[in-house]
């Protein structure tokens, strides 16, 4: 049986993790490669690296990091941040990334999704969607959720699927950072609407939130950052609890 995935997300700037990570017994908690290995050993199913600076000068540092992660880590990982062309993706996949995630660049030029899925296959194209519920309407936001658009979340999700996205990473800006749970109603609607996997993001605070997003939100995977980085939710404990609640996980 296909299992639900637990996905820690690491924010990267200049080849280092940011936001702080507070693992015990780590030589260098700022080194994404050390952290990635640790997460793989602790039972994470996949990893996401988000280049939050994503400037031109950072790109080479990011390539070096991707190469090192691919060299040392034996679980799949996705790289996102500042990706806007077929060449960008070609470079990252050549460095050993399994998937890439695109966000604003896909909104600005939706054909990019078609180009990527035709050249590399849908399986490596994750479309990240940041959306905020404004007056009852879920609207897509750009640039890390700072710039609102007129595009409706559910229309956009249908479109990215049609254009060849292999997966949707949906972050609710209303829930992100609140630690009050995922946007399960919107997630469940997304899951019914499209036939590609949905990764839930934004709002993880407790183990129960993960149970809820898999059951009520019908999510295929759940992504979180700080609850994992600061050891608030140990991954193994989380997975055992999910298993107890009848949710299929890899243990």
């Amino acid at each position: 049986m296909l299992t639900k995935r637990i996905v820690p997300c690491l924010d990267i700037k200049n080849g280092r993790t940011v936001k702080g990570v507070n693992f015990v017994d780590l030589r260098d908690a700022g080194d994404p490669v050390v952290l990635a290995k640790q997460y793989a050993d602790l039972g994470a199913d996949e990893l996401v690296f988000l280049d939050i600076a994503a400037t031109l000068e950072n790109r080479r540092t990011m390539h070096d990091m991707v190469l090192k992660v691919a060299e040392q880590v034996n679980i799949p990982f996705t790289v996102g941040g500042g990706i806007s062309s077929v060449e960008d993706v070609d470079d990252l996949l050549h460095c050993g990334a399994d998937k890439v995630s695109i966000n604003s660049s896909a909104v600005k030029r939706p054909e990019l999704i078609n180009e990527l899925s035709q050249k590399f296959g849908s399986q490596c194209v994750v479309v990240a969607i940041d959306a905020k519920q404004v007056d009852g309407e879920w609207l897509v936001h750009l640039a890390g959720g700072t710039i609102p658009t007129e595009i409706r979340l559910f229309d956009w999700a249908k479109e990215v699927e049609k254009r060849g996205a292999g997966e949707i990473l949906f972050t609710s800006m209303n829930h992100d950072g609140t630690k009050a749970g995922f946007a399960n109603e919107a997630l469940a609607h997304l899951s019914d609407l499209v036939n590609i996997p949905i990764i839930a993001s934004g709002g993880a605070g407790t183990i129960q939130h993960f149970v809820d997003t898999f059951k009520e939100g019908k999510a295929d995977a759940a992504l979180a950052a700080s609850v994992f980085h600061f050891g608030e939710i140990p991954i193994l404990e989380l997975k055992e609890e999910l298993k107890n609640k009848g949710i299929p996980v890899r243990i």
């Binding site: 296909l2 299992t3 995935r5 590399f120 292999g166 997966e167």
Partner: protein, 193 residues
């Protein structure tokens, strides 16, 4: 121990190369028939769309070579699918090494299947010391129909062949190079065949 990875332009071969490096084996990327023939073991990778991958394989001139190889050959993911008789993806004729058809999952399930699923009914030295129901990482929209050559099966919408074996040819639908320690063990078993 000489290990070649067939380099015909399809797929993320870096990860496979790195996985073998972690096992202490230097895998050579090659599109040179003589070099491939002289290898002890051959990896036939593949990611992406079947008809374009097959086109690249034909253009590389390696299309005829693969089925004639005598040493152990391991097809991974799309590589395995191309070794079957035929795939529905792009209505593509395969290499005919495995006597089975590759079909698309229906829309009753999410397509692609993406993530960790179990492998069962293990029947090969490739799976030495691998326990039944071990988890492997899979990403695919098409599956090989269960057949006599199945050496592992998985369930997603239906039971399908997640690994195949015919003489010196092996194929796995999952990505051993991305499937943690158990995946690395399968690669080690392949080296030791």
């Amino acid at each position: 121990m000489k290990l070649s990875i067939v380099n015909y332009g399809a797929g993320n071969i870096k990860s496979i190369q790195f996985a073998f490096k972690r096992l202490g084996v230097e895998a050579v990327l090659s599109n040179n028939p003589d070099e491939i023939i002289a290898s002890d073991k051959v990896i036939f990778p593949g990611v992406g769309e079947a008809s374009s991958a097959m086109k690249m394989l034909k253009e590389s001139g390696l299309y005829q070579l693969i089925p004639t190889l005598k040493q152990p050959v391991l097809g991974i993911c799309l590589g395995m699918q191309l070794m079957c008789n035929h795939t529905e993806e792009g209505d593509t004729k395969g290499l005919g090494i495995f006597n089975t058809e590759v079909k698309r999952f229906s829309n009753k399930v999410k397509v692609p299947q993406m993530g960790w699923n179990t492998i069962s009914n293990l029947k090969s030295d490739l799976f030495k010391d691998i326990k039944d129901n071990e988890f492997m990482y899979l990403v695919h929209s098409y599956y090989a129909e269960n057949c006599d050559e199945s050496i592992a099966t998985s369930n997603y919408e239906l039971e399908y062949a997640s690994a195949l074996e015919n003489d010196n040819f092996y194929g796995v639908q999952f990505h051993p190079e991305k499937s943690g320690k158990a995946g690395e063990k399968i690669l080690k078993n392949f080296i030791e065949l």
